[in-house]
């Protein structure tokens, strides 16, 4: 035999135990061939090197566990099957009952029973201010108001003293007349101007009637109704000057109202936007052609800061006749409402889409200003901006006939109550001594604007420098001083905040704190620089 064949036979036998002998031919060859002997020894060595010395033992109880598991699985499957069958047996009557109910509902659908219509016509989304809406419905029971989107604003006629006797107090309002023209009116109050009068401007969308209604009333007596009914604008002037002491006259000099009046008009029409915390009015004019005739488009945008929703109003005018022929409202790109005041056939709102507007998202109950996101600041804002921010409130005084700025506002956050927005309002009413108040304005959906007096002036110097103190100023100071590098000193305590009016238009926020070496540090917030001044009495 050749060595190669013998070696193959050796390899084939290798893992077998040594007591198993080779065949006689192989044994003879091995005895004579040292090369094959060496190969055999080496291969045995190889096998020994790759053969584990010990063999693992199956864990005790493995088989029992496995069998137990298999039995448990089988039982589980059977149990599930039986329970499923039982469940289906249990549900069978329910199927029958639900089928019968479905048939009944189907029958009732074709029967115009009142009970069914009541059942079917569920309540529409609650108005933004339910409390006011209910009160209003109670005052005017003759007008059905089932399912409304409600909005109201107060027009305040402030009491005037002798200084104003010669001045005619009036407010501009805008309406759309039955011919589609925008009318700019003067709303004035006749009578004793020493008493405060509030004209309510309320508007809502009635889902049942599919119409908009706008009512101006004083002391609960409506004197003006502007409605969108039967595919056209209907105006009803219920003015009774003797009873209501309200005078409405047209302002001929107005060609087009100011942009904010468009905004008021649009909000009155749609009655959807009651909780804006930032309003951006984009007064863009576009000259286009519509059916061959030149038109003018004015766009007003209501921008809601918190949830980044925008409401757009497009007013389309014919400049030759000063006639508005189309108003389109969009929530983002979704059309909410189109009004064609002069085209009866095409005029219709989009009630289906309108009901889908998430007017009251649950997670947006209050406006929240996050502590970390809100950079501490004091900024002077225009009163007009604030008026638009909270148009239901008394800040409407911007439209005072005197037409000079009567108030300046310092807007700041309250760090102790982040949901509130703190506003320091300075009234410079020439009738009285300069009245300076620190007020908080909290805006929320439920109560709209709420104004509280939260501070008091503590000092007015002869140089007209005034310093106020308030608990919320202290809270703000305690928050701010921690992030100002120059103020971070060990053992700084008793940090207080003060608002300082330096001159007519300048305000400063002062942070005063005492360190352990009794050094008082005052910071000027606007510049965020420390004054090296050391004083003993911060109030002086």
């Amino acid at each position: 035999m050749k060595c190669h064949r013998i070696q193959n036979l050796i390899l084939d036998r290798l893992p077998l135990p040594p007591e198993v002998e080779f065949s006689p031919d192989v044994q003879c060859h091995l005895a004579d061939c040292p090369k094959c002997q060496q190969f055999y020894c080496e291969c045995v060595k190889v096998v020994q090197s790759i053969r584990p010395s010990t063999s693992p033992i199956v864990p005790p109880g493995f088989k029992d566990n496995l069998i137990h598991r298999i039995r448990a699985n089988e039982l589980g499957i059977r149990y599930e099957r039986s329970s499923a069958a039982d469940k289906s047996r249990l549900w069978k009557p329910a199927y029958v009952i639900s089928l019968a109910l479905l048939i009944l509902i189907g029958l009732a659908w074709f029967e115009p029973h009142a009970w069914f219509s009541c059942l079917w016509n569920r309540e529409t989304p609650l108005p933004a201010d339910l409390r006011l809406a209910q009160a209003f419905a109670g005052e005017f029971p003759s007008i059905p108001r089932t399912g409304v989107l409600y909005q109201s604003r107060d027009i305040l006629f402030r009491p005037l003293n002798d200084y104003y006797r010669e001045v005619h107090q009036w407010y501009p309002i805008s309406i759309i007349d039955e011919n589609g023209k925008i009318q700019c009116m003067k709303l004035s109050f006749i009578g004793d101007r020493k008493e405060k009068q509030i004209v309510k401007d309320e508007s809502w969308y009635d889902f049942d009637r599919g119409s908009f209604i706008r009512i101006l009333s004083i002391n609960g007596n409506p004197f003006y109704i502007n409605a969108f009914e039967d595919n056209k604008i209907v105006l009803t002037n219920l003015q009774d000057s003797s009873e209501n002491r309200i005078n409405i006259i047209s302002i001929e000099s107005y060609i087009l109202p100011q942009p904010e009046e468009f905004l008021n008009l649009a909000s009155s029409l749609s009655a959807l936007w009651t909780d804006c915390n930032e309003v951006k009015i984009v007064h863009s004019k576009t000259t286009e052609r519509y059916h061959g005739k030149p038109i003018q488009q004015i766009k007003s945008t209501l921008h809601k800061k918190n949830d980044y929703t925008n409401l757009y109003y497009y007013f389309n005018f014919r400049p030759d006749t000063n006639q508005i022929f189309e108003i389109n409202t969009y929530l983002h790109k979704t059309p909410l409402l189109s009004i064609y005041p002069t085209q009866k056939s095409e005029a219709r709102p989009y009630p289906r889409d309108l009901q889908q507007i998430p007017l009251l998202p649950d997670n947006k109950k209050y406006f929240r200003f996050d502590k970390l996101d809100a950079v501490p600041y004091i900024r002077t804002i225009d009163l007009n901006t604030l008026r638009e921010t909270a148009w239901q409130g008394i800040l409407y005084a911007k439209l005072d006939p005197c037409l000079y700025p009567i108030a300046r506002i310092v807007d700041m956050f309250d760090f102790s109550v982040p949901s509130k927005r703190m506003v320091a309002i300075v009234y410079d009413n020439p009738d009285h001594c300069p009245l300076i108040l620190l007020q908080s304005i909290s805006l929320n959906r439920r109560y709209g604007l709420k104004i509280e007096k939260i501070g008091r002036p503590i000092h007015t110097s002869k140089s007209e420098k005034t310093i106020w103190e308030s608990h919320f100023l202290d809270a703000a100071a305690n928050h701010i001083y921690q992030i100002i590098p120059s103020f971070i000193k060990p053992q700084t305590n008793d940090v207080r905040g003060y608002l300082l009016k330096e001159s007519q238009d300048t305000y400063a926020f002062l942070i005063a704190g005492k360190t352990t070496d009794k050094t008082q540090i005052i910071l000027f917030l606007d510049r965020l620089t420390a004054f090296p001044q050391t004083t003993n009495d911060s109030n002086s």
Partner: protein, 182 residues
């Protein structure tokens, strides 16, 4: 009732009843456990995989009725495929997991650690030859299967298995010679 032997069950059909399955487990558990341990190098993994294989073998017994006269080879083929899958998966994992596994080897009782170290050494040696040859050598030497059984596991001719085995041993001989006389 006399319990069936390994040779009887190796070429039997797939167990259908629970009694048959119990006998099947009884006969094959030791071999399968050894097989898995030498490839996975972890006792716990071997036990888990063996349990999953047996459970699958029982749950899919109706499907596996077609496996006639090849219950043993089929079982080992299942185990081999699972081991290959796990190795592939392990290769795809980030290197940190490998570090973890090597750490695992060093932790534990000394005897087990030494045993694992030996398995690791054998594993490293066999990695130097082609995978098919290494697998035949594993089945032949470590799992003590005959050439005909190995051929059934691989689904190829017995001569092919023998050739792979011979080539593998010769290569290992050369490798070990080189290591001893560099």
């Amino acid at each position: 009732m006399k319990s069936p032997s390994l040779t009887e069950l190796w070429e039997a059909g797939w167990p259908q009843s629970q009694e048959e399955f119990e006998a099947f487990v009884e006969v094959f558990q030791e071999r399968l456990y050894r097989f898995l341990y030498y490839r996975l190098r972890n006792l716990h993994d071997a036990e888990d995989v063996m349990q999953s294989i047996f459970l699958k073998a029982y749950n899919e017994r109706n499907k596996l009725q077609k496996v006639k006269n090849q219950a043993g080879p089929y079982l080992f083929r299942m185990a081999m495929n699972i081991c290959i899958d796990r190795h592939r998966k392990k290769k795809r994992e980030p290197p940190t997991s490998e570090l973890d596994s090597t750490n695992e080897l060093q932790i534990g009782i000394p005897a087990e650690a030494m045993e694992q170290a030996e398995i690791g050494r054998i594993y490293d040696i066999l990695q130097q030859i082609p995978e098919k040859q290494a697998e035949v050598i594993r089945l032949r030497i470590m799992d003590e299967l005959s050439f005909s059984e190995i051929a059934k596991v691989f689904g190829c001719f017995e001569t092919t298995v023998r050739t792979r085995y011979r080539y593998g041993i010769r290569k290992l001989r050369q490798i070990i010679q080189k290591e001893e006389n560099p």
